[in-house]
Amino acid sequence: MLGTMNFPILTWITFLPILGILIILLVPSGKDEKGQELSKKIIRWVAVGITFVQLILALVIYLNYNPALAGVNNLKTFQFVEKMSWITATLPMVGNINIEYFMGIDGISVPMILLTAIICFVAVFPSFGIKKAVKGYFAMYLMLDLAMMGVFCALDFFLFYLFWELMLLPMYFLIGVWGGPRKEYAAIKFFIYTLVGSVFMLLVMIGLYHSTGSFNIIEMMNAANFRGDSIFGGLNTTIRYVAFMGLFIGFAIKVPLFPFHTWLPDAHVEAPTPISVILAGVLLKMGAYGMIRIAFPIFPDAFGYFQTLIAWLGMVSIVYGALCALGQHKVGKRDFKKLIAYSSVSHMGLVILGLASMRPEGTVGAIFQMFNHGIITAMLFMIVGVIYDRAHTRGLDDFGGLAKKMPIYTGIMAVAFFAAIGLPGMSGFISEVLVFLGAFKSYPVLTIISGLSIILGAAYMLWALQKIFFGVLPEKWQGPWDPTRLIYKTDDVNGLEMVALIPLAFILIFLGVYPNPILNLMTGSVNQFIEIMKPFVYIGGL
């Protein structure tokens, strides 16, 4: 088995983008005989190559992963572990400071690594449309890729935090330089919001270090490792509640959970298509992942204390996000991207509700929903990107009757839309059902209210579908699309876009029919996770 071999696969999958960045920075600018800039071409294909190798590595990890080993709070059952001393120094008061380079994965991180690899690979293709400062764009893109992968692999809090923050700057530039008209505002808003969350995380991290004498996340999950007189020692103390809230808010901003979600619509609307794809596809998952990996198991007592509040926040996000998305059909300028952004708030609320239920089926559903939502929204944003590239507008009112003009596109889009609604036979259905199954046992009323939002979801999605694809094709789109954009030879989706969209559509349908390949990965770990949480939380019975 590969896990027992000495090949440091997690290091490779995480730091491979550095190789890409170096190559990209070294590519000299030059033009080929046709006058096209050769360097841009090379840079694009380097990015394709690097992310493809990452995808292969992710598949290797997936195939060699042993679902029987649970992980979570048991170091022995983590897989592909790499652990070495990184920073050691002697401090007189605290003892030794010991930061480790500690990577390892379990059933919670594997789906996320798979998701990151898939999304980063497919989002390279819409990036081909980027014309400005291509070198900088792909360097930042790969840096973002590195940081995200690192977050899902790290088991040392310091390392985790490093990756978590490393993601800020590339994201700032990607939105700020290559974004839409209000890019400056959106970029700094994203930056500041996320930083507010992460500085609280920093304080809690320092506190945890002083309490346990290590940055090891797994050791922090064991109450026995806390010194009794340290600030986080004991259980159910006020300071532990405060610390939990600090972590929770830090992660909730990323999710984003109501009321910390206001950065998301701005960031999505202004970001270029591929960055919206990554933002919705992977970045939002980091918040929920952080809760499962760090906030909940390290402070299970505090989670128990706030459990109902968290469930409520999840429910409010679901309903509020859906209403806002629906509102996109009523007010002012109807923006396609904003619609999807709010639907993300709604769908990620579902993840939180599933986690708050603290039942195995709800938690499995939540993690599966993270994966599905990643794939579905990535697809939706790429779909928006396709018409935006052709029409230079995302206004829902500007379109109509596209089904005749772009039949293939309409077909692909229907798959994504129905998956987002949660139609049976699509992966989104499975995860929603699991979440509701779990949540109903713990919080029946909240679940019923949330369940109603499914109807709202269907309403806004179908509405948008109807608006864009049926009815009369407006006069201005009667002829061919923007003739200045020569890269599009047909009116319908071109080959490059198909490469990105078709695999995602395939995954959605395949997992909708047969979800076991992903579900099997995590059941063991989720059961272990529930075991840790059980003594502290409310689990409804039925």
């Binding site: 990184w86 920073i87 050691t88 120094a89 002697t90 401090l91 007189p92 008061m93 605290v94 400071i97 400005k132 400062a133 935090y161 490093l162 923050e165 490393l166 800020l168 700057l169 700032y172 530039f173 700020g176 330089v177 890019k183 400056e184 970029a187 700094i188 930056f191 500041i192 930083l195 507010v196 500085v199 609280f200 920093l202 304080l203 320092i206 506190g207 270090y209 002083h210 600030i231 300071i239 405060v242």
Partner: protein, 498 residues
Amino acid sequence: MMDISDLIKSISLFKPETTLIVTFMLAMILDMAFKKSKNIAGYIAIAGLVIAGIFLFQQTGVNYKAFANLLVIDSFGQFMKFIVLMSSLIIIVFSFFSNELHNAHTKLGEYYTLIIGMTFGMFLLVGSANLIMIYVAIETMSISSYVLAGYTREVKRASEASLKYVIFGAVSSGIMIYGISILFGLTGSLNLFEINQFLSVNNVATLPLLLSGLMILSGFGYKISAVPFHFWTPDVYEGAPVTITAYLSVASKAAGFAVLLRFFKTGLLDSVPGTSEAWQLLGNIDWHYVIAVLAVLTMTLGNLVAVWQTNMKRLLAYSSIAHAGYLLMAVSVMNDNGVSAVLIYFVFYMLMNLGAFFVVQLIANKLDSENIDEYNGLGYRSPVLAVCMTVFLISLAGLPPTSGFIGKLYVFSSVINSGYIWLAIIGVLNSVVSLYYYAKIIRNMYLRDVESAKTKLVFSPVTIAIVLMLAIPSLLFGVYFTPIVEWANYSMNIFVGN
């Protein structure tokens, strides 16, 4: 009582300072002798600093009260002296490339000489354990710095800066010496060790002690530009030549923090055993809170006002006030963790702050302006410089993976370990605010005015190399900082010269 063997040993331990005096004189004389060579004094200054550095290095492990307890030679002082020395060295190198200075004067002999003079003053300040010595040292460094701040005397705002600096300096020295006189009246001694002994045996009235402490603090606060003693900072930083601004923001602060820490630990520490965690201070005054309040005021004011600045020098001036606040936070915990956090922070602060100022200097050389709008499109006009500036700014904001983050990590770590959670929360919120104005510069460099990319700015390879020499360690220490931490811990372990 000074006996001859003490004197001989003291003189031998005074070698770094002696070297600086010799350099001072040599630079002055040779500058007059070689009229044609513009930078001769600068080269001599560099040589002198290097030799002083070697002598300083030889003092590793020495713990001695020299000149009848006037000066203390210990590893804490050695660390801070290295910071001062390194900044002097870097500033002299910066000055070689300053158009501003070279346009104002045909010869820069006195300029380099005065930097050495100021370095000497700071060396004395870092080591002094006697209140009069502290006063003399502060004046030595101040007088040099007044002249340096107004060195480009044809520039109106430089003269204004210099004058303001003198007036504020005079006032704060006056207050400080008044405080010293009260403390002398209370304890009958000017020597910190004797004051400590007196206070640990006798009970003194709290109010006069508090008053004298606050007054002395105002003298130190002036040097480290802590609120409310900061009023001179923005104007002087804006008016002075960039090199001197950079110098004041690092070296002068280092010396100020050194004397502040020494004053508390040597003068007021209760040396009763069993008080290893937090220092017990004599005189029933809670100095923790006094300093903590100063820290909160300093960083909050610095950060909030910096947000509105459009002149880079002013912006960095307020940012340096904010950094003084972070450092004061570490001082306020009043234990050895705090001291080591201050030391660690200073190494990184020196690299990133000097780096940022050097970029400002280079841009001012080319564009003759320090306005933040001049940085529009810099990311395309001079990619390497802009990337380095981004590293410095990110580091100043305290984001990983830069060294500034490690500095902040240690500061917050010392604060949290002492249980001042509220202080840590104010601190991190401040660093969020600071990100806003640092990001404003990054925004201008990359997000604004991309068309200007056509007019490239070309800088000489030497200057780019210097920027890189500051930027690369700023990044590297962010992922591997063991040596700095070890060095800082070694230096704070043996702190009191007993």
